[in-house]
Amino acid sequence: MSEAQLKDLEEIFEQRIANDEKIEPKDWMPEKYRKTHIRQISQHAHSEIVGMLPEGNWITRAPSLRRKVALLAKVQDEAGHGLYLYSACETLGISRDELYDQLHSGKAKYSSIFNYPTITWADMGAIGWLVDGAAIINQVPLCNTSYGPYARAMIRVCKEESFHQRQGFEIMMSLCNGTEVQKQMAQDALNRWWWPSLMMLGPVDAESVHTEQSMKWKLKRKTNDELRQQFIDQTVPQADILGITVPDPDLKWNEETGHYDFGEIDWDEFWQVVKGHGPCNKERMNARVGAWEEGTWVRDAAMAYAEKQQNKKENQAKAV
């Protein structure tokens, strides 16, 4: 293909997106579009899969059967979300194996929030309320993104996500209406999860390298800072209802802007965790890689069994 032809194709492509047309797997797309989508969709899928680990920690210790079935269902949803997203990602011409390799080798990232430990039961509440809350804010605009399979996967994810946030808030609510020690436990969880949740919405706009291109491709419909502000504005009144305090002395309602002003985020911490130096990066990767490797014989056995059944069927057909 000549350079001029390529440029024509790119122009037609950008025009289609500008017209709100969807791009489907077999359509021509610029290499950069394909790569950017593989990066973002796979990161998203990896986050769902690794995101099961901090919560899995509490399934056997949930305080009641009601909490336990809810937590199990939530973790199962996360596995499902990971699978929807991996399958959307595979339509871009990358195999599941390559995707797993990228995760296991550390080449691909996942949301850094999952590198924090879940040390009390209140963390299950805080994760549902804050982490899933931030995730929803991030994800809802993606239901309209330009790549068809990703948009369809996101619609399914978003439908299921609101249960996650509500069950988290309910856990916080029970603790806050409980004994003094329980309320302190809820406050402590908010203290530890608040700032990482704000970081989850990504670096500030001025430092976000992908924002401009991603906005053009509708892979992003609002900037990180806009999403963060939206999250803070909706979450602070919820903390008031719970009767616990957001750990930010600079947090203040601004009558003029109609938004909350908030304090400085510790971006050094964010980058440290992204680079692998968070409290649980190693633990998470070991758990994930371990599960994959220890499952090898199961996957091989299933394949061998399927082949045997297939051969049996073929031999029976021959015998008739």
């Binding site: 489907e24 021509w28 269902a73 194996d97 996967a153 299921e160 091989d300 299933a302 394949m303 399927a306």
Partner: protein
């Protein structure tokens, strides 16, 4: 691992009276496992009453590059639409 589990396309009928619709895909060792996994992955909240699974490699798809010769001929055959035919105003329903 010796061999990867193949990819399957999943179609779900959400209720009787509606057609099966493509829901997504998943990996499974055989058709039976694909059905069981599809149940868990795509119908956790009663989204379906029937599931079809088809190994992805068995699907032949048209190529969007050929959309011109495949689909454009239909555009100039306006006589296939009812509005191509003129009727007197007195006829209200036809």
């Amino acid at each position: 691992m010796e061999k990867n589990w193949p990819l399957w396309e999943i179609f779900v009928r959400s209720k009787n009276g509606l057609e099966h619709r493509h829901f997504g895909s998943l990996h499974a060792a055989d058709a039976e496992m694909a059905l069981e996994n599809a149940r868990d992955v795509y119908t956790r909240r009663s989204e379906g009453v029937s599931i079809w699974v088809v190994e992805s490699k068995n699907i032949t798809a048209s190529n969007p590059e050929n959309n011109g010769e495949l689909f454009e001929p239909a555009q100039d055959k306006i006589y296939r639409h009812p509005t191509f035919y003129t009727l007197p105003d007195e006829i209200k329903h036809m």
